[in-house]
Symmetry: C2
Subunit: 493 residues, 2 copies
């Protein structure tokens, strides 16, 4: 017989006391799975309470999984499912995620696993020319921290809510204003703030994605681009890049024959080649796309980083017919950690991108957008750009000088960029090219071999040097080490 | 004849002086499009400088788009593309974005345009039961601001860089630790931090997406879910939700016949019905999915908000065979503005989701993750949950009391939730149901009609009341107004 005791002085309701006592007896295995509890009538009589109180307790015990209830019968103690712990969890799962995931996902996952950042040894004594992330030492941390705190205080609690779907309005106003200095004149509803530039590109690709669609782009190109295109179900059409930019004769042919859904281009300091196209090239590319009515996706990832010669205006600045989707970012001149970029396009296009963003993640954080706006509004952004120009003008000069001094013309060629962080070394042909990554690491230096940026086979050997996170001393020493590595390979010494 | 003057005292290089003077003449239309410039030899002779200096200036003029150069001929002034300004931009673009965008994008865009938040009039005198965003007045702004500032200072500049791809490690450690209190025991590499919960769902859908795949889910459900599913190319299989949760007999049938790629469920305070399933229901659902080896996507969006009765453990807590993908968020108990959620799943699954995130937006912001970690680490999170329970226990009691007091049983039924923010009113049948949104607004109250949550036709009428942003007084007054609206419709008074 089930012995329960109600305590009148206890502030807990009676049903709760019954529930807890039965629960305890089940957990202590005084009541065993399969055992019957008394009927609501019997237990109510026994405790001199109303039947509905017992029924409530039983209902809750059922809901918590301690008893089974079937109509007309007394409740029975259940064999409750155990909590999964590291001890009782199986090592291998019931499903193979390779089968659950789509082939496109598995392909992108394979690419991810073999990304240089994951496959390269992390060696702190190496001088690292690999990534295009900026030297932490240049981050204006203190100014940003003050702006962050001030923005949160000024905006008040609403800044912690869901924000405007196309982004913090004052920041869009700042971007619209700032773009004027690059010849782009747009309204705030032609701007969508994104989680960095790549997020903008993903939104554009998702907007287009449909079976059979193609996208024309430079080859070599940013190494994330082709995996992303393919993941989105789009087919890349690679147009070789020449000394002056994408081969326009080939592009014209492709536009006519293949009718791609989009032309993707990086007119400034193209990644990985560092090439900036001329005004004429930009005009011709736009006019070709106008002729075939194919939108242009212009990647202005380092728009601000022209520090030699005059600023070249983006293609978007000449876009009278709303054909260009322009993407920008704070990551490559300020810092990437706020994850703030923007897409600028005709309102009809922005609305569609916003709808995709809405359903895929509701909205982006207003906190960091308000902080960056505060930062820009106070002139810190313009001052930081000046600093970056001054610093990287010197660093790039040091790189060019070291290349001239240490790298023999029998080993490699390169062209001098007019800004940005990249130098693209064309290595002289070798009958048996080595595994460049290991050779370099053995000499205390890291850089990305060209094959990361080509998606079709190429017999040419390149190295991409990024000076984005190195100072002059490190650059010079790094190029010396690179020279040693090249010497070993080319002269066998 | 072109008259140029070199100034020896000018610190600018000679090629720059030539460039600027020619450029000025072109801009002032002294030199007109089509006009020839002197050959490099002639201009060099004339200025008594080296030919290569002139060639450099010409090259730069070409690059800036001021001249055309063809081999063997003198440069000619170009008809330079004008900057697109609001004055010379065409009103309509060259392309129709409806044709550029995929049908799936246009569908999601249409849904977006007719979302209640965009279509409802914003009326500040209305009492708003529409959204599930939390009362700003409860946001722990000051504590968060201190943690934000402290986190940025403690972490130093690296916090402004690209972060770890699966999220800030100390935050993943906190989440792993916190999930233990919900019976879930996982390691940090089974956790991926996302931009809010919906981003996690989007990643899971993108991982699965392949032609012909289906997803089983409750009907009615969260109104963003089916548009997102369809946008991702997945077909929804709607399983009606009964008083106790998803109809498991129907689910079993669907699992057997349709073999969906996934079962999506919200076991706690289901949106929109407010229903929480019992332990038994959870066990049965899991065991069904185990039998058919179909992964479960468990949406724990309000896991913390059980404030009546005992906490019910999530399905993931019983998942011995790594079948459950669990999504959580800070948005529905703390605030949504940090855009931080998490996905918990077997490592093989997390790696694939991480790869998709990697290519679609590189990484998420570490700044806010570090701030939230600081906030949690200092006990603010646990204290905030207690406050929320205390506040919403009272608010929900006020809502239930007002419903009993003002809403006649001839107008509507409802069930009492055990937590969360939602009450689901089932309205009594009407021969000519009115446009509920207008009727309510006319009575100074807003709530979402049930049809937003059903994707197949239904003849039943519901209203979803969310108390998430209202205090007791507002709730009581709002329900009074609702009662007036119902009275008008049901009694014609």
């Amino acid at each position: 017989m089930l012995l329960l005791k109600l305590d009148e002085k206890n502030r807990k309701p009676q049903y709760q006391q019954i529930l807890e006592q039965i629960r305890q007896k089940i957990e202590e295995q005084i009541l065993l799975p399969g055992e019957k509890l008394p009927s609501t009538r019997r237990l109510a009589d026994q405790l001199a309470i109303h039947r509905s109180t017992v029924a409530t307790a039983y209902q809750e015990l059922w809901s918590l999984g301690f008893v089974d209830i079937s109509p007309g019968a007394c409740p029975r103690v259940r064999d409750r499912a155990q909590i999964a712990t590291s001890a009782n969890r199986t090592d291998t799962g019931l499903v193979d995620w390779n089968e659950i995931a789509s082939p496109a996902t598995n392909a992108v996952w394979q690419t991810y696993l073999f990304q240089p950042e994951t496959s390269l040894p992390s060696n702190s004594s190496c001088i690292n020319f690999s990534g295009v992330d900026i030297d932490y030492r240049l981050f204006p941390l203190d100014n940003f921290r003050v702006c962050l705190s001030r923005a949160v205080r000024q905006q008040g609690p609403s800044i912690l809510g869901y924000g405007h779907r196309t982004g913090f309005l004052p920041l869009r106003e700042f971007i619209a204003h700032h773009l004027k200095s690059h010849g782009i004149s747009v309204t705030t509803d032609e701007i969508l703030i994104t989680n960095g530039l790549q997020h903008g590109i993903d939104l554009v690709f998702r907007m287009l994605a449909a079976p059979g669609k193609t996208v024309a782009l430079e080859s070599p190109t940013y190494k994330e681009m082709i995996p992303l295109l393919r993941f989105c179900g789009l087919t890349p059409l690679e147009i070789p890049i020449r000394e002056n930019g994408m081969d326009l004769a080939l592009l014209a042919e492709v536009l006519q024959k293949e009718r791609p859904a989009l032309v993707y281009t990086m007119p400034n300091f193209q990644n990985p080649t560092g090439i900036s196209t001329s005004q004429t090239h930009r005009e011709q590319l736009l006019s070709l796309c106008e002729r075939y009515r194919v939108p242009v996706l212009e990647d202005g990832f380092e728009e601000e980083m022209k520090y030699f010669g005059k600023v070249m205006l983006p293609i978007k600045s000449m876009d009278k017919h709303h054909l260009v989707i322009y993407c920008g970012t704070f990551s490559k001149v300020l810092f990437p950690g706020v994850r703030i970029g923007w897409v600028v396009a005709e309102k009809q296009c922005i609305e569609r991108l916003t709808a995709i963003r809405r359903f895929s993640e509701l909205s982006s954080s207003m906190i960091l957008q308000a902080a960056i706006h505060e930062f820009c509004q106070n002139g810190h952004y313009d001052r930081h750009i000046s600093t970056m120009h001054r610093v990287f003008r010197k660093r790039m000069q040091a790189a060019i000088q070291a290349l001239h001094q240490y790298i023999a013309p029998e080993w490699a060629d390169w062209s001098e960029p007019s800004g940005g962080y990249l130098v693209w070394l064309k290595l002289k042909p070798l009958t048996n090219p080595p595994d460049w990554e290991s050779v370099l690491v053995a000499h205390g230096v890291q850089a990305l071999p060209g094959n990361y940026f080509f998606f079709s086979e190429t017999s040419e050997n390149y190295l991409r040097l990024s000076i984005s996170k190195l100072n002059e001393e490190e650059i010079t020493e790094g190029i010396k080490r690179l020279a040693n590595a090249l010497q070993t390979i080319y002269t066998g010494e």
